[in-house]
C-alpha cells in the first residue's frame, strides 16, 4: 500500500483534479439556471417571474455570463484562498452554509464509525472464539444477509419500526423544534435522541464489514507460531486473545475504518434524506433541486476532500502502527 509512494500521491492529486473539474463543469451544464427557480419556494407563495433584464443582471452579478474557462480560473483562485463562493439560494457564503450543516453530518458519521468499529471488533472476536460452533454459523449467515441491505432501505425499516410503529424515536430533524432547554445536559440528550436512528442505520450498514474482517484476520492470526508460544508460556486465554491475537488482527481494521468513513460520506446523503436530518446530505439534495451551483460544488468538494484525507490518514497511520511497512 505504501510501497509506491509517488503513484499514491499522484493518484490522490489526479483524483482531486478530476473531482474539481467535474465539480466545476457539470453544474454549469445542467438544464435550467438558478434564477428560474429562485422565487418558487413555498406552496401558496406568490410566484414572481423575473424579467429578462433582471435575469441578465443576476447572471452578471454572479459571473455566470463570462466564458467558462474564465469562470474556472476564478473558481480555482478562490478555492486556493478558501472562498467557495456565495450560495444562490441561501444568499450567504457557501462555506458558512456548509459549516452550518457539516457538524450534524460529522456527528452521525463519527458516531457510526466508532460504534460500528467497536461492536464489529467485539462481535468478530466472539465469533472467531466460537468458531465451528453453531452460534458462529448463525451469526455469520445473519450478518452476511444483513450486509446486502443498502443503508437507506435499512434506515426506512428502522424508521418505520421504531418511529412510526413503536413511536420510540422522533420522525425527523436533529433537535426538537422550538424547544426550551433547562441546561446543556438536556440539550445534549435531545441531540443524541434525534441522532440515534441515523447513527444506528449507518453503524448497522457498516458493521458486517468490520465483523467479517476481524473474524477472518483473527482466525488467520491464531494459527501463527507466536500464539502457540504465548499459550506455551502459560499465559491465560484472555491475555493470549486480547494482547497477542487481537492486537495483530486490528491492523486491517484500522485501514477499514478509514475507508469506511469515505463510504459513509457517500451513503449519508440518502440516510439523511430518510430521516430529514439537516446535514450536508440533505443540503446537497435541496441544492440539486434548486440548482444552487456554488453550493453543490462546495458540498461535493467537502465530501471528496474528506474522503481523500481519510485515505491519506489511513496510509500514514498504518505505517506508524505496523513497523514492518517501510515508508
Amino acid at each position: 500500500m505504501v510501497k509506491d509512494r509517488n503513484s499514491f500521491i499522484f493518484r490522490l492529486l489526479s483524483t482531486l483534479f478530476v473531482i474539481l473539474a467535474i465539480n466545476f463543469f457539470l453544474p454549469r451544464m445542467m438544464p435550467g439556471d438558478p434564477f428560474s427557480t429562485t422565487s418558487a419556494d413555498e406552496v401558496g407563495e406568490e410566484i414572481i417571474v423575473m424579467t429578462e433584464e433582471q435575469r441578465l443582471y443576476y447572471m452578471n452579478y454572479y459571473g455566470l455570463d463570462r466564458p467558462l474557462y474564465e469562470q474556472f480560473l476564478v473558481y480555482m483562485k478562490n478555492l486556493m484562498t478558501g472562498d467557495l463562493g456565495r450560495s444562490i439560494y441561501y444568499k450567504m457564503p457557501v462555506s458558512d452554509v456548509i459549516m452550518l450543516h457539516l457538524p450534524w453530518t460529522v456527528l452521525i458519521v463519527v458516531g457510526a464509525t466508532v460504534i460500528s468499529t467497536i461492536s464489529g471488533v467485539v462481535l468478530g472476536t466472539l465469533s472467531a472464539k466460537n468458531r465451528k460452533k453453531g452460534s458462529d454459523r448463525i451469526m455469520m449467515t445473519g450478518m452476511i444477509a444483513f450486509a446486502e441491505i443498502p443503508s437507506f432501505l435499512l434506515g426506512l425499516i428502522l424508521l418505520l419500526v421504531f418511529s412510526v410503529y413503536l413511536r420510540l424515536f422522533p420522525l425527523a430533524g436533529a433537535v426538537t423544534p422550538f424547544a426550551d432547554y433547562n441546561g446543556p445536559a438536556e440539550q445534549a440528550w435531545d441531540i443524541l435522541y434525534h441522532a440515534f436512528l441515523p447513527v444506528a442505520t449507518l453503524s448497522l450498514s457498516q458493521l458486517t464489514g468490520v465483523y467479517l474482517l476481524t473474524r477472518n484476520t483473527l482466525i488467520t492470526v491464531t494459527t501463527k507460531d507466536y500464539i502457540r508460544t504465548a499459550r506455551a508460556k502459560g499465559l491465560g486465554e484472555k491475555t493470549v486473545w486480547i494482547r497477542h491475537a487481537l492486537r495483530n488482527a486490528l491492523l486491517p481494521v484500522v485501514t477499514r475504518t478509514g475507508f469506511m468513513i469515505g463510504i459513509m460520506m457517500g451513503g449519508v446523503v440518502l440516510v439523511e434524506s430518510v430521516f430529514s436530518y439537516p446535514g450536508i446530505g440533505m443540503t446537497l439534495r435541496s441544492a440539486v433541486v434548486g440548482r444552487d451551483y456554488p453550493l453543490i460544488q462546495g458540498i461535493l468538494l467537502v465530501i471528496a476532500v474528506s474522503i481523500l484525507i481519510c485515505n491519506m490518514l489511513v496510509d500514514k497511520i498504518y505505517g506508524k502502527l505496523d513497523p514492518r511497512v517501510v515508508i
Binding site: T15, I19, I22, R137, T208, G209, N216, I263
Partner: protein, 319 residues
C-alpha cells in the same frame, strides 16, 4: 455505500467458504469439469440460499414479463379512489392519486431488472473487454488505463452520481449510462490482471508462435478464461446498479414518467404526514420489501456463483 461491497464481499466469501468447508469438493469439481460446463449447470450445486435466490429472481422476472397478464389495472392510470386500503378491488390498495399499487410493483420490477441487467452487461463486458485489451497490449496504453481506473475507483461515486444525473436530466438511459461510467473500472481491472497472468502461459505463447492472430488469441483463449470471473462480477454490479437507481429515484432524480420501486418510495415518503396515517402500510412497505428481496436474492446467487466457479476468486479480487 457503493464501494463498500468489494471489501466486505471479499471477507464474506472467504468466511463463507470456511464456514461451509466445501473447499475440497469445489476444487475437485473445478478440476474435472471444464469452465463452461460449470456455468451451464451450476444449479444442482447451489446451496439452499442460492436456490432460494434463483427461484426468487425467477419469480421477479416472471412478474416483470407477465406484468400485463397478472394485473388488472394499468399502473399509470387513475383506477380507484385515492389511498384505498388493500381490498378485493385493488389487491394492495392505491396511492394518493388512486393508482393501483400491485400494478406499480409489477411494472416497477421491469425497471429495476432492466437497469440492473443493462448496467451489469455493459460495464461488465465492456469494462472486461477494455481490461483484456489493455492487459494484452501492455505498454503505455495499459499504464494510462490503469491511471484512469485508479482515479475512477477513487471517486466518491454516489455524490457524483447525484450531481451528474441531475445534470443529464432524469431518464432511464441517462441513469444507465451514468452507472456504467462508474462501474466499468472494477471488471476492467480484474480482466486486465487476469489477462496479464494468462498471457504468460505456455499454451498461449505456443499458439502465438503457430501464427495465431491477436484477435483469435483473445477470443479463443483469453476471453473464455476471464469469462467466469466477469460473470460473477456482473451479478455484483447489477445489484449495485439496482441500489443506485433506487437511491437516485428515492431522492427524486429518477425518471419521473416511470414507476420504479425507488420512485414509489420517493412518492410515498414525500407524501405529507405519511407516517401519521396508516397509508405507509400498503404504500411504502411493498416497494421496500420487493427491493430488499431482489437484492438478497442477487446476493445469494452471487455468493454461490463465486464459490462454485472459482474458490480462489478472493485472491484475484484482492487488489
Amino acid at each position: 455505500m457503493i464501494k463498500d461491497v468489494a471489501a466486505s464481499g471479499n471477507a464474506g466469501i472467504l468466511s463463507f467458504i470456511q464456514a461451509l468447508n466445501i473447499n475440497r469438493i469445489v476444487s475437485s469439481i473445478a478440476r474435472t469439469f471444464s469452465r463452461f460446463r460449470t456455468i451451464a449447470k451450476p444449479f444442482s450445486r447451489f446451496s439452499t440460499e442460492g436456490k432460494i435466490g434463483v427461484l426468487g429472481i425467477l419469480c421477479i422476472i416472471l412478474m416483470a414479463v407477465f406484468a400485463p397478464v397478472i394485473t388488472i389495472y394499468p399502473p399509470q392510470k387513475i383506477t380507484g379512489d385515492s389511498l384505498e386500503p388493500p381490498g378485493p378491488g385493488h389487491i394492495l390498495g392505491t396511492d394518493e392519486l388512486g393508482m393501483d399499487i400491485w400494478s406499480q410493483i409489477c411494472y416497477g420490477a421491469r425497471m429495476s431488472l432492466t437497469i440492473g441487467l443493462a448496467v451489469a452487461f455493459l460495464s461488465g463486458f465492456g469494462g472486461g473487454a477494455v481490461g483484456i485489451l489493455a492487459g494484452y497490449m501492455g505498454g503505455h496504453i495499459d499504464q494510462g488505463l490503469m491511471r484512469v481506473i485508479d482515479v475512477t475507483m477513487a471517486l466518491p461515486s454516489f455524490p457524483l452520481l447525484i450531481v451528474i444525473s441531475a445534470f443529464l436530466g432524469p431518464s432511464i438511459l441517462n441513469v444507465i449510462l451514468i452507472l456504467v461510467l462508474f462501474s466499468w473500472a472494477k471488471p476492467a481491472r480484474i480482466a486486465r490482471s487476469q489477462t496479464l497472468s494468462l498471457k504468460k502461459n505456455n499454451y498461449i505463447i505456443a499458439a502465438r508462435n503457430y501464427g495465431a492472430k491477436p484477435f483469435y488469441l483473445l477470443w479463443r483463449h483469453i476471453f473464455p478464461e476471464v469469462m467466469p470471473v466477469l460473470l460473477v462480477l456482473v451479478i455484483g454490479i447489477s445489484s449495485h446498479a439496482i441500489i443506485a437507481e433506487a437511491g437516485l429515484a428515492f431522492l427524486g432524480l429518477g425518471d419521473p414518467t416511470s414507476k420504479s420501486w425507488g420512485m414509489m418510495l420517493n412518492h410515498a415518503t414525500g407524501f405529507r404526514s405519511i407516517y401519521f396515517t396508516p397509508y405507509w402500510q400498503w404504500w411504502l412497505l411493498p416497494p421496500l420489501f420487493m427491493l430488499i428481496f431482489l437484492l438478497l436474492c442477487l446476493a445469494f446467487i452471487s455468493r454461490d456463483m463465486e464459490r462454485i466457479l472459482d474458490p480462489k476468486l478472493k485472491i484475484k479480487k484482492g487488489f
